[in-house]
């Protein structure tokens, strides 16, 4: 979904931008990489918010699972039954249908989308590099600034799984995420005041 050329000014103001970093260890630990999750929002002319969850620095990824949090007073998932759409991280390497197995996540309507997951199918080599893991379309419920956070929830077993050895994800650094979110929101608010 491409952003509108004439995006409404209010949308630009109201979209909060968050970079949520999750420190993930890929097995084996000695060869670990540190995939970084980033959330890239794109306001649409329709009033919806398109969010890409990207990864960078991933090494030999066979499967992944992550969670997303949002403010339900500001945003609603456009399709609650299929909150997320598969990104291109896997499909750019394995474009044939059926080579990946994507699970769109579970939206509780309270600001949590959990178990967004994807796996390669069969004995395929893991994917290394950067790309979009998934995207989520939100409907705006208000013009308030808001935050979308992507993170790894240890309680749900979120993480990146290598092609050879099942990795043990490090605990998601929620504190880091929260700090980053607060920082970004504050910066956005400052900008608004200056406009």
């Amino acid at each position: 979904m491409a952003p509108s050329e004439n995006r409404p000014r209010r949308t630009v103001f109201l979209v909060a931008f968050v970079i949520a970093c999750a420190m993930v260890l890929l097995a084996p630990p000695s060869a670990m990489a540190t995939p970084i999750l980033t959330v890239d929002p794109t306001p649409l002319a329709s009033g919806q918010l398109h969010v890409e969850i990207n990864v960078s620095g991933a090494v030999d990824v066979y499967g992944y699972q992550f969670s997303v949090e949002y403010d339900p007073s500001v945003l609603a998932v456009a399709d609650p039954f299929n909150p997320a759409t598969e990104g291109t991280f896997f499909s750019s390497v394995y474009p044939d249908p059926g080579e990946t197995f994507f699970f769109p996540g579970l939206d509780d309507g309270l600001g949590h989308i959990t178990f967004i997951a994807n796996t390669l199918v069969g004995p395929l080599a893991g994917v290394t590099g950067s790309g979009s893991l998934a995207s989520i379309d939100f409907t705006r419920l208000s013009d308030d600034p808001t935050t979308v956070v992507a993170f790894l929830d240890e309680a749900n077993g979120d993480g990146f799984v290598g092609s050879e050895v099942t990795s043990v994800p490090e605990p998601a650094t929620m504190l880091l995420v929260a700090t980053g979110s607060a920082f970004v929101m504050r910066r956005r608010a400052r900008r608004r005041r200056h406009l």
């Binding site: 499967g63 997951a117 390669l120």
Partner: protein
């Protein structure tokens, strides 16, 4: 009513009652669909010969009867042998000799021989033409000499008079099977036991050795058209041990593994019936576990009501083994890759006569597994053309236990994805590592075991 009519009626009643009293229940004929009320550990109900046992097998017991026939006795017309068990300490021979459309033969009766006994089947009579394509209308079986050569002190402390008997289950007709299959099985806790060693099973099969590592081996029942024409013998060669199966587990000397069904042949357990190490869907596997382990299987040996009782009149006195049906028993190899699954096993709890503090239920609990006689969709001994399927260890990724890993297994994971144990929609089959949550670990575990080129 006139006095003469009243007198005649009374006379007729007396005659009927008298004849009924005089009539000895020398045989029993069970009509198709007839259900006789058998209760666990209760005396034989009316209509069952005096020599009948009352063993039951799980929730299906009302359709199955156990007749304990002395050697040389004759099964009455109208009966069909379903399973034949010798007593436990002389060889737990599980034999299917039903479903023979053209009638039984002496070769069938050879299967009645336990590995430690002789069988003289010279007295066996042919089976008349069947009234049902699956069940002979009548069956006369003379069991000569069975158990006669059992050596005294054959390694088992249970050397009891039942060595001279057979337990014979008779049932009216396999037409009742659909209802049997549909019979509910009491829900119980699924046991999950990490098993330290991958068991490899190997058969000597005819000219063997026969590699049993294939995912799905099929033997055929009596009556199957595809049954091999040449009699064969197979032999189980244990390649593992249950020693590490459970905490404190050991192989019970009194009970032992026995195997499933073989047609036109005999089977031998090479370990001389003292230990056993092979476990699969259709055999009877016996081991001893602790009471705690029994509880882990979902059995409360103190408070649960057994579905089966087995009375053993041993030298130590009368002992009642209580049987419990659990819905599933599974053992997973320590590496998590393979899993043995037995559905609807019958678990016997062995009293501990040596422990006066706990005379009824000891730490040593005999577990008889593998008797999944009517597991839906799994093993059917008695349907026409049904094959007896002996599984090797399933891949743990084979969530639907069909012997292969494919997209259907992945779909099962997907259907429960994100669900936790106790939550609606949680399917334990999808929780491959049994950690209580279906997540990316389970998904990738199954996915990476899909064959190359698979597209889901």
């Amino acid at each position: 009513m006139s006095r003469s009519r009243l007198f005649r009626a009374a006379l007729v009643s007396l005659l009927v009652a008298g004849s009924a009293l005089l009539q000895q229940p020398s045989s029993v004929a069970i009509a198709a669909g007839q259900v006789l009320p058998l209760a666990a550990c209760t005396p034989a109900p009316t209509g069952i010969p005096a020599n009948a046992g009352t063993g039951q097998f799980g929730p299906l017991a009302r359709h199955i009867y156990t007749l304990r026939l002395p050697v040389g006795d004759t099964l009455p017309p109208g009966s069909a042998i379903f399973y034949v068990f010798s007593v436990f300490d002389t060889g737990s021979t599980v034999v299917v000799i039903n479903n023979q459309p053209a009638g039984f033969s002496d070769a069938d009766l050879l299967q009645l021989c336990s590995p430690t006994s002789n069988c003289d089947t010279s007295g066996a009579t042919a089976i008349p033409p069947t009234r049902d394509p699956n069940v002979p209308a009548s069956l006369n079986v003379r069991l000569w000499g069975l158990g006669a050569t059992i050596p005294p002190g054959n390694g088992a402390p249970l050397d009891n008079p039942q060595a001279e008997t057979l337990d014979v289950q008779v049932r009216p007709s396999p037409t009742a099977i659909p209802t049997l299959i549909g019979a509910p099985v009491a829900a119980r806790t699924v046991a999950h036991i990490d098993y330290g060693t991958i068991i490899t099973r190997t058969y000597d099969f005819g000219g063997g050795p026969f590699d049993f590592s294939a995912p799905d081996i099929t033997f055929y029942n009596a009556g199957d058209a595809a049954i091999p024409t040449v009699p064969f013998t197979f032999r189980l060669l244990p390649r593992g041990s249950f020693d590490h199966a459970l905490d404190g587990a050991s192989i019970g000397p009194r009970f032992f593994l026995d195997t499933a069904v073989v047609k036109n042949g005999t089977h031998t357990i090479t370990n001389n019936l003292t230990t056993s190490a092979i476990m699969y869907d259709t055999g009877n596997t016996t081991t001893s576990v602790t009471e705690d382990a029994a509880r882990a299987l979902g059995i409360d040996p103190i408070n649960d009501t057994p579905v089966d009782c087995f009375d053993a009149d041993t030298a130590n006195g009368r002992v009642t083994l209580k049987g419990f049906m659990i819905d599933k028993f599974e053992m997973t190899t320590a590496d998590g890759l393979n899993r043995y699954v037995i559905h609807n096993p019958l678990i016997y709890v062995e009293p501990d006569l040596q422990n006066p503090q706990r005379p009824a239920f000891p730490d040593g609990v005999a577990v008889v597994m593998g008797s999944n006689y009517f597991a839906p969709g799994k093993v059917l001994f008695d349907g026409p053309g049904q094959a007896l399927r002996l599984y090797t260890a399933l891949s743990a990724a084979d969530t639907n236990e069909d012997g292969r890993v494919d997209c259907a297994d992945l779909a099962i994971v997907r259907a429960s994805f994100g669900k936790r144990r106790g939550q609606a929609g949680y399917d334990e089959r999808a929780d491959v590592n049994r950690d209580g949550i279906v997540n990316i670990t389970d998904l990738t575990f199954v996915s990476r075991q899909l064959p190359a080129g698979t597209r889901c």
